[in-house]
Symmetry: C2
Subunit: 246 residues, 2 copies
Amino acid sequence: MDGFAARYPAVAHTFVAALDDDVSLDDEAAHHLSRVRRVRSGDVITAADGRGRWRPYAVANVRPGAVDLRAQQPPVDEPRLEPRLVVAFALTKGAKPDLVVQKLTELGVDGVTVVAARRSIPRWSVERAGAAVARLGRIAREAAVQSRRARLPEVDGVLPVSDLERRPGLVVADPEGGDPASLPAPSTGEWVLLVGPEGGFAPDEAAALDGDRLRLAPHVLRAETAAIAGAALLATKRTQAPEPPA
Amino acid sequence: MDGFAARYPAVAHTFVAALDDDVSLDDEAAHHLSRVRRVRSGDVITAADGRGRWRPYAVANVRPGAVDLRAQQPPVDEPRLEPRLVVAFALTKGAKPDLVVQKLTELGVDGVTVVAARRSIPRWSVERAGAAVARLGRIAREAAVQSRRARLPEVDGVLPVSDLERRPGLVVADPEGGDPASLPAPSTGEWVLLVGPEGGFAPDEAAALDGDRLRLAPHVLRAETAAIAGAALLATKRTQAPEPPA
């Protein structure tokens, strides 16, 4: 048992507030299980707390608007993947932040940060940014259910690019950068992959970014493709953290 | 000069029937250049023949519905990337073949093959399949313009999975497979990455697939994410073909 909820033979996955022996769901999670996944009594599902612990449950009862679960085993700690991986992507004209957040979550990132670069379009107001980031958080949660993750990625923003200039572990997506094979492991235990807007960063903005440069593909990538491809490339360079000493 | 049209300092890219010294465009390409990219006389663009040659042109004239180009240099041969890379993906419920074809084209694949697996939904009729594949070809062309490719990927299908069972260079996306780092180079000079439908291949279908197994990510990926992530991973293992002997 390597601890990955995604490999447990379950028919569905959900998030719960606490991994108690008996859990009753009566919200969106119940709707998802009963109406979308069509679980029935006796089916085995996995439930996670969003912070790295998960537990197999049997469906005890499906009632109108509610699903009752009964634990089958003690909770399991999901091993962390190292280094941590955060992807920061610049809002850009025609960009698809929903698509990016969904795909990054499937690919196992620990965090997604929305960035406003000089050439970013649109510029979100503070109020609109707050609502938009909250919505991206819900998209991440849905994707984490689909991908059977035990941890929810942190979604935050909107940050100016300057906030990331000297961030330890910074990796800048750059068509003139190096290959993934030659990217060193971060001394901080975390990579922060920064993907610029359509048309790239402004020259002075790019010059101020103190990080490794990574080439993602031989051709020109749309901003959302760069974020997804970058996450896929760095994901394969991550390994399971060793068990903490007992 | 490494030959990559994508790195030439041009404001736009297009495909032309022949790389003549003087070219007049009067179709969708003219519309794209004049209305979407808003090129003006004197701007430098690149044009490719779709088969690996490209050439820089200056915009000589923008007329209603037409754009005239004047070559700036002799044609350039784009180096091939080796091994060749074809991605075959199974139609699947909720899948987004348009998204997959667009992203695979950006990531530089040589071919995209649409596959019908046992668990594929929907099953396209022969007539509908023909129209759908033709439409995917147009999406690939648009993405190749965006990515400034010199070669258009071949889009074909719909093939039954059994047609790929013994295909040389077959690589099967599989959560229990090996890491990209341990994937051997194909003896045939071509990888054919096969991505199954949502829920995977049927057991006998999977057993008949005679190829290397490749794990793409630690978590469960939607079918379209698997195709995109797989293309990104294999793209970084490709290198420029040496110049052919003169």
